[in-house]
Symmetry: C2
């Protein structure tokens, strides 16, 4: 008999933290805390296997589950007083989701379950607080009806508003126990009216309804969006946790809070958190009331006047301090803790590795390694390489005066400028059009995720550092200012006001998430200072990795940036702009439009000295490091003159006639330029182009070497090769140029000739191609396009349909498709090395900066990855992590 249900609580549990895949993150950690003898309200977990089985079997639960749930309910009753459904001593439970990976707020939750017309009376008696009991009951009816029964929460809100009006109440706290009883009656009537059946009174019916709703919410749109953004496979499923309720809202001796064992924003090693007196846990996270600090030092730092938990409940605080230290030491990582104090007693509701900013993550990892809590290798593994992006990009220039409109909480660091928008949909729409936006909301909820992702930054007028907006923004790496109470948002007028100023939709603002500032207009940015922690981590990573990291760069500025970020050479120097940059566009166009070889040579003679200069600068910056130069690749018509005026300019410069130019331009048009006359096909049709480039490269190499006194060994790369004869044809010509220069200058040239592997045929014929090619560089952008038969330019339309329908789990242009494209890379690597055992292999597609693709490169035995300059540190870290794990994940589709 499969074990579907795992108990926890009361100082022991059937599960452990290691059983995360089966019990979900929450369930595994509740079990672990129980085993650590922390005071966890008892409960049980329905495993993720129940979820899979449920979805695989047409939404039927597996046999035997019901018996296991009944037994588990019984064992809760052994651990605490109260019995599920007992009208005298009722046990209430919460029903919550818990996936393998944290998906905060994405799935449904039901609290206070087990209340009905009888048990609410029992609860009133037991707690001695009738008002609390009926308030809890009405909350339960609303939540359950909304989540499980599908009755919109708007109905209940309207009933309550109307009731308050008729009774002349303003606040919920004005309502008495009798009032709540009346509201409960009206709520139940509403359910009966909407559904034609009464609100369920049978507590077991309630339980199964809630469990089914939570499993069902795994498939809701919010959860799907979140999974897509965070690459969480649909097949994982969620677990469901059923746990005895504890109440932080049983009066002034009760409280509820969220805390981090270290500062999640800066990484500082100081306990940090927020709490609310007489409140339920959801109130803190939802950001409805702005909470108080847990520690006195936190309170001082924020300049808050509200008392800290440390002052209000010193005993509970002392216990909490002991527990958080134990938890951090046990998990060997910064923890995000939820707790409730019910009438003076502290209960631990959750622990998990806390989300943190990249800056904090770096500091925590380095500190913990220095503290001896983790090893250097573990520290390297702790940082998500992609998150480094946040540190590397420009920040606001401190020397520029800021026109500060208002200040809120520094909820997620970084700076962002953009047009103000007030809805998530609008943020997404404008972003799709290329506009940068800042999303401004009173507070955010899981429904806003897509807009937060689309925005450069997020600003809220309510909610603390642990509010939804703050947590999600930090996870996404988006700058966020939260709880900026000084701004007043008017959704109807699409504007907000602060300090007497009106900011309308579309106005530019800047937010500084590290300082909590909201600034008028766009503030210029500067290169960030990288912290010592960053350097330390990079040094540790470099010790571990065995793949080199090069860069894709061609302008002196980018080449220098990449070098500063630690690039160990250039893996892809594109040469397109060397033909078609503004100062040489006319000569470039003259070359394209020439009627014959003689005309092309005339134009090429003009371009040669410019390209030689380009290459020389690059060689000098990269002094001594390898530089791979790709000869002209793109379809020529991309650079055609489009307007009459352009054509006339070219005609004048080249002495050709306008009509002839137009005819030639028309002849160059292609139906599918991606698969057209480009790459080495240009070199074969017009060898003089590649000959000119070869000359520019070789002469520049000699000149740069003379100047820097460092040897320069250029790597000449032929694009879009499909067969060995293509390469042979071009190699012969390039070698001819080299020989000529050797004779002219009486020197010996050192160079390599290699090829991009970016066509399926090239991968298959790599064994033959390697007879001529001295290196391979995998151009995985084009290889993905041809292997999948998908044009990246045209894929936006249907890739979204694919993601939405779960047909692909990741955009293959972002993360390398290991199963398809990856197999071709593997085949090419094997066949190439079979012919030429010491062949240098690298990747220069954009996947070269994607951590999971880098893991694949390590696994496949490539020598280096090459990526854009800002991705170099990411790649260095990812390569180190890849060297440590050396595994690769297949999607098996």
């Amino acid at each position: 008999m499969t074990k579907w249900v795992y108990n926890f609580g009361a100082g022991k549990a059937e599960g452990t933290a290691e059983m995360r895949n089966l019990l979900g993150g929450k369930g595994a950690n509740l079990a672990e805390m129980s085993n650590l003898s922390l005071p966890v309200p008892p409960g049980f977990t329905l495993t993720t296997e129940v979820c899979s089985s449920y979805y695989d079997n047409n939404k039927q639960y597996p046999d035997g589950l019901d018996k296991q749930v009944e037994a588990a309910l019984a064992s809760i009753s052994k651990a605490v007083t109260g019995k599920f459904g007992d009208s005298a001593d009722p046990l209430l439970v919460s029903v919550r989701s818990g996936a393998r990976a944290s998906m905060p707020g994405m799935m449904d939750t039901v609290l206070n379950l087990g209340l009905n017309d009888q048990t609410v009376v029992g609860l009133a008696k037991l707690s001695g607080d009738e008002r609390f009991a009926f308030d809890s009951y009405r909350r339960f009816i609303q939540m359950y009806s909304d989540v499980v029964l599908g009755v919109d929460h708007g109905f209940f809100e309207e009933i309550l508003e109307t009731f308050k009006e008729t009774q002349d109440h303003t606040l919920d706290t004005d309502l008495s126990a009798e009032d709540w009883k009346e509201v409960v009656t009206q709520y139940k009537n509403c359910v009966r009216q909407e559904l034609d059946q009464p609100f369920p009174q049978d507590v077991m019916d309630q339980l199964w309804g809630a469990v089914t709703a939570v499993f069902g919410s795994w498939g809701n749109a919010r959860a799907e969006t979140y999974r897509r953004l965070h690459n969480i496979p649909e097949s994982w499923g969620t677990a469901v946790n059923v746990q005895a309720m504890v109440f932080g809202n049983m009066g002034e001796t009760s409280a509820t809070g969220v805390a981090f064992t270290r500062n999640p924003s800066t990484g500082e090693n100081a306990f940090y958190g927020e709490y609310l007196l007489n409140a339920q846990g959801e109130d803190v996270v939802a950001g409805i009331r702005t909470p108080q600090q847990i520690t006195i030092s936190g309170k001082d730092e924020q300049g808050s006047v509200d008392p800290a938990l440390e002052e209000v409940m010193p005993e509970a605080f002392a216990q909490l301090t002991e527990f958080y230290k134990r938890l951090e030491a046990h998990y060997r990582d910064m923890q995000d803790i939820e707790f409730t104090v019910q009438q003076g007693k502290l209960w631990m509701l959750q622990t998990r590795s806390g989300k943190r900013t990249t800056k904090a993550a770096l500091k925590i990892a380095i500190d913990m390694a220095n503290e001896g809590l983790i090893t250097e290798q573990e520290a390297v593994q702790r940082i998500d390489p992609a998150s480094l992006d946040q540190l590397l990009h420009p920040t606001l220039d401190p020397s520029v005066a800021r026109d500060i409109i208002a200040t809120g909480l520094p909820a997620s660091p970084g700076a962002a400028s953009g047009k103000v928008v007030f809805s998530a949909d609008e943020a997404e729409a404008l972003n799709a059009k290329g506009d940068k936006v800042v999303l401004v909301r009173t507070e955010t909820s899981p429904e806003d995720i897509h807009g937060m992702h689309a925005a450069q930054g997020i600003l809220t007028s309510r909610g603390g550092m642990t509010s939804h907006a703050a947590v999600v923004a930090r996870g996404m790496g988006r700058p966020c200012v939260s709880g900026a109470g000084a701004i007043r948002i008017d959704y109807a007028k699409e504007q907000f006001s602060a300090s007497g100023l009106i900011v309308k939709k579309g106005d530019l603002i800047t937010i500084d998430g590290a300082k909590g500032q909201i600034i008028k207009g766009e503030v210029p940015t500067i290169q960030p200072e990288l912290s010592g922690d960053f350097s330390t981590l990079m040094i540790w990573a470099d010790k571990i990795r065995n793949m080199k990291v090069r860069t894709n760069a061609e302008t002196p500025h980018d080449v220098q940036t990449a070098r500063d970020f630690g690039a160990e050479g250039i893996g892809l120097c594109r040469t397109e702009h060397m033909f078609f940059d503004e100062d040489r566009l006319i000569a470039g166009r003259e070359m394209i439009l020439a009627k014959d070889e003689a005309g092309r040579r005339t134009a090429l003679d003009k371009i040669l000295p410019m390209q030689r200069q380009d290459f020389q600068e690059i060689f000098e910056i990269m002094a001594g490091l390898p530089v791979t130069i790709r000869l002209l690749d793109p379809p020529l018509h991309e650079f055609l003159p489009h307007t009459e005026k352009d054509i006339e300019e070219v005609a004048e410069a080249s002495g050709l006639d306008v009509e002839g130019l137009k005819t030639r331009a028309l002849a160059l048009h292609e139906t599918n330029p991606m698969l057209g006359h480009r790459g080495c096909r240009l070199g074969i049709s017009y060898p003089e182009i590649y000959e000119m480039q070869a000359r520019a490269i070789f002469e520049a190499a000699l000149d740069a070497s003379a100047k820097t006194k460092q040897p320069v060994t250029p790597e000449v790369m032929i694009p879009l090769v499909a067969s060995k004869p293509e390469l042979d044809f071009l190699c012969e010509r390039i070698a001819g140029v080299a020989k000529k220069i050797e004779q002219e200058r009486k020197v010996k040239l050192d160079y390599l000739i290699g090829t991009m592997i970016e066509l399926p045929r090239a991968a298959l014929r790599a064994g033959q191609i390697a007879e001529t090619a001295e290196f391979f560089s995998f151009g995985t952008n084009d290889l993905t396009q041809t292997t999948y038969g998908i044009s990246r330019d045209d894929s936006a339309d249907f890739i979204n349909d694919y993601l939405r329908n779960g047909i692909i789990e990741q955009d293959p242009f972002i993360s390398l498709d290991v199963d398809g494209v990856g197999e071709l890379v593997k085949i090419a690597a094997e066949r190439g090395r079979a012919t030429r055992p010491n062949m240098k292999l690298g990747i220069c597609g954009e996947h070269g900066g994607d951590p999971s693709s880098i893991a694949f490169c390590q696994y496949t035995g490539l020598d280096y990855v090459s990526c854009s300059p800002y991705r170099v540190p990411i790649a260095r870290l990812a390569a180190a992590q890849a060297a440590l794990s050396n595994t690769v994940t297949s999607s098996q589709d």
Copy 2:
């Protein structure tokens, strides 16, 4: 020491017919005839390995070659009287090319080599004919100077013309021995003047010059074109044959001729040939004089008044008759023979398998099998499948009156209509623009090959049935009328006249190559009657082959044609035209341009009954045979309205606004539509389209089955699949439609769902895809495009550069690329069958009708090939040949 030189002649030879690859066709057959004790002028062959070695070693001959040549020259002198370079008893030789495959007239030849100022005197004495000797010398000087020394033959022609004018001579025959002596002097002066050195007098210098020129001619432009058209690899090289000269121009007891052992036009089992008295062999082939018939029956048939060889030289004829019978029996094939009678003695100069029309090839193969000379299997192997094309296409409607302008020789059967052009270049240019042309020339030469290929038919005013035009046209399968002496061509005015009528460039004419007729205007065509030989061959082929042959067809007319040609099902029924044919274009466009699913469904409802009707017709014609239907595949924007009027029509029909339609049309534009939103991607974005098609197919299957009383099992094919999840998504929907129809009609539906394999990723993931797909059909057009990264629409530009530079040997869109695309097909077949052992595998790309690709399909174990209707018989024959050989040729590039 490598043997570079092989002797032949005098009743024995060092080589045999089997050594064709080493000795070339001509050399091998000269050796074989020698071994058969036929009277072959003695000589020797420099092997094709000499050619390869020459080209591989920077045009240097291998060591030891010179010694072997000298020894071989000496052994000629042993076999005949005369000695090379001996002034008293000179030996003259011919130097000719001889490749593995016949390349008639493509390479250079030098005759009468060995003549100089001394030996010409000796030749005069020996022959007793001073005029003959000096005529031969001037011919030699002209030919040698042109071919070897690069002095244009125009110089010599001008000298001769001027000389004749000053001497008041009209014809060459008017010139005396003294005249020729004077011409020789002038010729030599001309050479000295052009080259600054005298005409070579050293006969060994002459010999090496000629040999080098012949090897060099392997690389000339004519030869390259011919190789490209006939898929002859450049690496084969040519041999060179040096052979003692015999003279058919030594007076009236001498003659030269060309004969076929059976009629090369009809296949009739009758000796057939032409000769010229007192002439050299080149005169017959060049078509300068119209030759006489060899046999009396041939003379009677042609209604000629010139005497036959049978009458003029009965002894030589009798000997020739004996020899040809021996040769045909020995080679077990129809032979093409060249001979010379020198002063009454018959010499055999060449034998080879004769080129023939397809009709003749069929008759000869069937006859020979019936005669017991070859087996049925050999008969099947004797016919080039591609040549069947000639028989299958429509011929002139005999019921239509023909306006006959003139009549010539029926040189190559078939009918052709087109615009008159007078140059090969113009033929090629007009053909490239899509015009059909008939090339009209006085005579053709190897320089005209490209124009003959581009023309629908060829008409010459001079030359016989064995003239260049006739031989090449038969080889190409082009209709040809030759020697139409009644037409007079005026190249300058670009017109010809006949029967008082002027036909200008661009006028339409028709030629009937089977009857020799030239007809004014375009004559309508009818379906050809296929001969009994054709049916017999097909029956024999069908007994042998084990792959099925299906067709790619979707209109009732094409489906019926294919069935008549023996198609065993439909391998690819495209459905594009079922959306966008004239009568449904508006509904189709309405579907594309709909803003949402509801709009699409409205349009689809209009299309459903039409498609159901289409499918029903197809199922009825193919009653009981399998029909594979591909769901909508192409990018939608192909069918967009382009003009304002089109857009307005769609707006009116659909009730949508014009501006909205324009916006949507713009949104559908794609950069690379081949790699865009098409194939199953449409089905995933708009499942309602495929659901409608599935309904049309299933309902039509039930209706057709009810009508024909035959079971119909439609095969639903999903295009452009890259992964299993795509297929799963669509399968589920199609199965849903099937289930609905089963409920509606209370029946059980039989159907298969399969997929195209046309993307590299699909081939690699075939193992997973086969878990869902019930069949695979290889779409090798698109698979070639993606594997090579070449858009077929855009490849014309550079594919020619590739062919010209020898980078590819064949256009991969015509013949399947075995090494690249083929490996993916093989991988997919293996992985697919590993998952689903009985998986049906077929090919539906255009390669399915290409014989060498069919051989690959056999080798790879496919179940069927599918091709266009007219290719079905070709595929049946090619499949039989593939079953017999079961090998495949790799290009190894």
